[in-house]
Each structure stands twice: as C-alpha cells, then as structure tokens.
Symmetry: C2
Subunit: 353 residues, 2 copies
C-alpha cells in the first residue's frame, strides 16, 4: 500500500489515535513498536481541536508530530452510535456534540474535505452504519445511502496526497453486501473497507461475512476491516483476505491492565501476579518485557500509577505489530496455515482472567 | 555525595517516586532528564506492595528498574499528616492505612530496618513533624522525641550500602532548631535534613529558618531540605546553603497542565495556548519542547489525553534538573550571585495563569 507518508506492508494493524494521540504513546514509541499507520477519528478532531487549528498547525502530521501515514475515518461510525443525538437525511447527518451539545452537520462532501484539508493519507467516505440485528429495510436503506454518498464523495476534488477509500455495508445480508460491494467497486476507489461488522453479531457470523465480502473486492487494492484488534481476530481477519484493520483494543486493554501475549491474554489485577517476577511475555523483546516484571506492572495498576497503562499499552501495540510482521513473513514463506493454526491455538488455550 | 548506586553532584533536585514510580516517567527517561537521585516513600511502599514483595524482587532498585541512587523518607511526614488516623507515643506511632483502614505501627527501629532491607541508598530517621503554627510546647515535644528517635535509629545495624540521615525539627523557633541540630550532630550521622518546613508558614519565614539551620549543620556533609520543588524555591534553597531537595511539584504540575519554564510557569489550559504553535519553552532542548507545540500539549490536556501529563512531567523534571546543572556550573565558576539574580527575576516576571 503506497501512501503519501510511506509504503505500508500488509497485513497491517493500525493503532487508533482518536484525538490525534495514540493514548499514552509518543510517535517515537509508535515507530519503535513498528507501527506503520496511525488511525485518527474525524468526529473527534472535528469537534476538538477543529479544522482551523489543525490547518494552522500545518496539518495533522505536524500537529501530532507523527510523520508516518495517517488514516482518518469519516466520523460515520461515531455519529451513528450517538443514536438519540443525531438526525439523518438523504443529504447528510446532523448531530449534537458529546462535549457541549453544540449542533454540527456532516455531509459526504464536508467530511472528505475535512480529511483532505488536514492532510490524511487515507480518507474514508461518510457511510451509514447500522447496529445489528437490524431489519432488511433498514440495512437496504443504509446500503442505498452509503452508495449515494460514496458517489458524491468521489466527486470531491482531493489532493494527490489523500487516497479516498469507500465502505461496503449490508449487515449480515449476503445479497445486500454483494450489491453494496458492486456499487462502490463501479466507482473505482483506490481502496475498500468492510464496514458495519463487529457491531453486535456473533464472531462466526462476522468472519463468514468478512470472508465473503473480501472475496468480492479487487485483490489488487487494499481491503480494510474496521474495528478488529485482538490477536485471534487479527489472524482471523488476515485469513479472510483482509489487508489492514484498526482497533482501540490494544491501548484500551493497556489502560485496563489486560496484557496481550502470545500465550493468551493476562489480567494484571489477578492476585497471582503480585509476586510474579517473570517478564510479562517471555517471548517478547519489547522494553516493557525486558525491563519490568509482572509484579511491578501489577503494582502500578493496583496503585493506579500512570506508568502501568503506559508500559502495557506499549507492549500491546508492539506485540500485535510483531504478530503482523510474523504473519507477513509466514505468508511470504508459504507457511500461513501453519502459522495461523499455531498462533490461534496459543491464544485460545492459556487465557487468564 | 557518594552513594552506593553512584556519586551525586550537588546542588541536586530529587524527583519523588511515591509508589516506586516517578509518576508517568520511565527510569530511562529519568536518566535522560539527568535525574541523579529518586526519592520513594516508606509509608506508601510499606502498605503496597509491602516489604516481602520488594525483598522478593531483589530490592527497590530491581523492583522499579532504576539503578541510580534512591533516597527513602521515613514515613514520618505522611503518618503525621494522617492526623485523626494516627496515635503517637514515646516508642513510635500507630496509624490506620489510608488504603484499607488496617492498623500499622512505625517505630524508629522498624522504619530504618525497612529502608535498609529494601536497599535504599539513603534512609531517613523517623521524626515528628508538626504542622505550623504550633505551640512552643508542641514543638519542644517534637524536637525531644525526634532526637530520642534519632539516637535509637543510629543504634540499628544497617548495610554499608545504606546511609542514614537525621532530621532537624523545631518549627520557626530558632532556639529549638539550634538544640535539635546540636543533638543530632552529636550523634554523627552521614547527612542531615531540615524537616518541618513548608508546612504552613510564609515563604520568607521558611527561608530565614532554612538558612539559619543550614548554617548550623556540618559543611562537609549533605544538607537536605525536604519538600522544595519550584524553580524559584530551588534557587532560594541553594542560596541558603542546602545541597539537595525533593518535591512532587514538577510531576504534580506536569499532570495538571502547569509548565515550569525559564520565563515563569505557564498554565496550558489558558485559551491563548490553543493556537500557539511555538515550543513550550524555546530555551529548552528536551524532547517535549523540540517535538511538540504548546497548541498540541494544550489539546492533550483539554482532551484529557495521558500524553499531556506524560510529556509535561518529563519537561518539568528535565527543566528543573537543567537548572540545577547550571546552578552547579555557576557556583563552580564563582558566578552564583549573578545566576541567582537572573533566574529568580525571570521566574517572578512572566508567570502566566
């Protein structure tokens, strides 16, 4: 994936920096943890610090001091999860800020314009995301509007630096997914996302749909599955034919004392870790695992010390990026099935807490 | 000052790592910020994680992964500030934990034993700290007990690695201070602290007393003023003849959006900083000042993003350590008065918010 701020090797996990910061980590650390792309949220940046400030700073990269690729979402997902605080019409969506109740409006055009003006490497079209389960009528309406908005988005002039990706909707309805995919492929975007999953359905249903949708998308363009971030789910997503994915999972777990290790996830609040002087993940070579013990990390979490979330967020992002690098190597070496079986088994067998 | 984990150049500021972590900063960052000594709190470590865990970890240095010198306080200050939750007698003090209400007892002997068993480079004797204003009777009682406890402390066998410092009490009463100093000097400790200041008195009264007390202490041994940490106060303390001081101030300010700069303190919540794309302190070469703008730091604080406290705590500790290094250079070059006048003036002239 060639982007304005660098080439991205896939499959690739993208940590989320909601408000122009991946919570608790510096850009230098993200780089050291082998992060290739950072995701930021249009909804949050629109409200704070706002377009004017980011433009005055010289764009989102300079504002947050990250010189690698940045993908911004369209804000659709956040706005639709506001539920009672938003009103959708054919032209766009009006919503009340969760910060101060002020009224704002997203249209396909202004959302793309925002993303290109702040200098995103990848901008996403505004889509209509439906919570599952949903009626056929609701899903059909979402697909119709998502396509219409993708068409309008593709008519917005964007810098050569910003690539605009479309989004496929359709819930768990195979026929609607197919229609949605066909519609946006016809508009010839440089990349496609699979949206509207990980919103209430079972894991099995989600991956069946991700697999069949990925198969509909052009193999020579990036395929992006939104909202995936456990080790097990990243492996499953790659197996579905997906190239990149994002999630707050590694950093949210990092703040809550949940460690992602090759042997499964660990809850650092478990009493067993208070006197466990072994490294967090003996197979990991990140600074958190080489410099500190489980006992010290457990102490930081129990004492509500900021260093705990910071060190664990670093480890979780590092560990997931390392898993992705090994996945790329395994694919390159024709060893994907073996790698998948081994890493998936380790995840399911030893989880603690 | 020669300590088990290294030599310390004075005057020296010691950041506080209450619970075996200087809030938000890694040992590597403390080192990069030219920190020479870290202070940790016996009261907090006693309660959590406790002696057994720290001993099992191989001592406080290995537990927190800091291989430089560590000074631990005696817990006296914390216990006496518990007020209604503690009961003092001639033999020691019984108190209820602020964490779970459990009852604990500090004696001169067990507090020194704790500090040497966890491997502190400098241990402090248990003292009686009185909140000001206080009656002569109360201050006199505190001095009497502090001396008696210092005598008992000096009888405890400690490792060669741990140096035991005594504490001078006496409030703002010059005669009591003199008696307290004479009493502990007679016991021949390797270092002395000036305690019981910065507890409610005026700044002028505090520095007058610090100056006269420092003058009573042997010039060939470290003189330590407890609880000092603004740029202006560190300069004043050095001017009083003090060699080292500690405070949570730089990291507490770091968490609250208050920047310590050579031109005075800045409140990053001030509206002016939202669109200020200059460095935090143009005269500072720390990573926070070279990589980020005031606008970005202000955004992190307004958005309650952990990166704000982290980056600002780093800057504040770095900036204070840099000031101390320059103070040492100025003293070495016979330029102290000029340096003092220039840096003190800058602090008082431009403070914002």
């Amino acid at each position: 994936m060639q982007l304005a701020h660098g080439a991205v090797e896939t499959p690739c996990f993208m940590p989320v920096g909601t408000a122009a910061t991946v919570k608790g980590l510096t850009p230098a650390e993200l780089r050291a943890a082998q992060t290739q792309v950072v995701l930021a949220n249009t909804y949050h940046l629109w409200l704070r610090p706002g377009l004017d400030t980011i433009e005055a700073a010289g764009g989102i990269h300079r504002f947050m001091a990250w010189d690698g690729p940045i993908l911004t979402d369209s804000g659709g997902f956040q706005v639709f999860s506001l539920e009672s605080r938003r009103r959708i019409d054919d032209d766009g969506v009006t919503f009340a800020s969760h910060l101060d109740g002020s009224e704002h409006r997203f249209t396909p055009e202004n959302v793309v314009a925002f993303q290109q003006r702040i200098g995103s490497d990848v901008a996403m079209v505004l889509d209509v995301c439906v919570k599952l389960p949903a009626s056929h009528e609701e899903l059909e309406g979402a697909v119709r509007l998502t396509t219409a908005w993708a068409r309008r988005s593709s008519a917005v002039a964007v810098h050569a630096q910003t690539k605009l990706f479309a989004i496929v909707q359709g819930g768990l309805d195979a026929a609607l997914r197919e229609r949605s995919a066909r519609d946006v492929i016809e508009l010839d975007f440089p990349g496609y996302a699979i949206g509207g999953l990980s919103v209430g359905e079972t894991r099995e249903a989600m991956y069946a749909m991700a697999r069949s949708t990925a198969a509909l998308l052009p193999a020579d363009k990036p395929r992006y599955l939104m909202g995936v971030g456990t080790m097990r789910d990243c492996i499953a997503a790659i197996d579905c034919g997906v190239d990149c994915f994002d999630s707050v999972y590694p950093t949210r777990c990092g703040r809550n004392g949940r460690a992602m290790t090759r042997g499964g996830e660990l809850n650092l609040f478990n009493a067993a870790f208070v006197r466990d002087f072994s490294p967090l993940d003996p197979s990991c070579d990140c600074p958190t695992c080489t410099a500190y013990t489980r006992a010290y990390l457990a102490h930081c979490f129990r004492s509500k010390e900021m260093l705990g979330p910071r060190l664990l967020s670093y480890h979780n992002v590092y560990a997931l990026n390392a898993l992705m690098r090994e996945a790329r190597d395994a694919i390159g070496a024709g060893q994907w099935e073996t790698f998948k079986a081994r890493t998936t088994l380790a995840q399911s067998s030893q989880s603690s807490g």
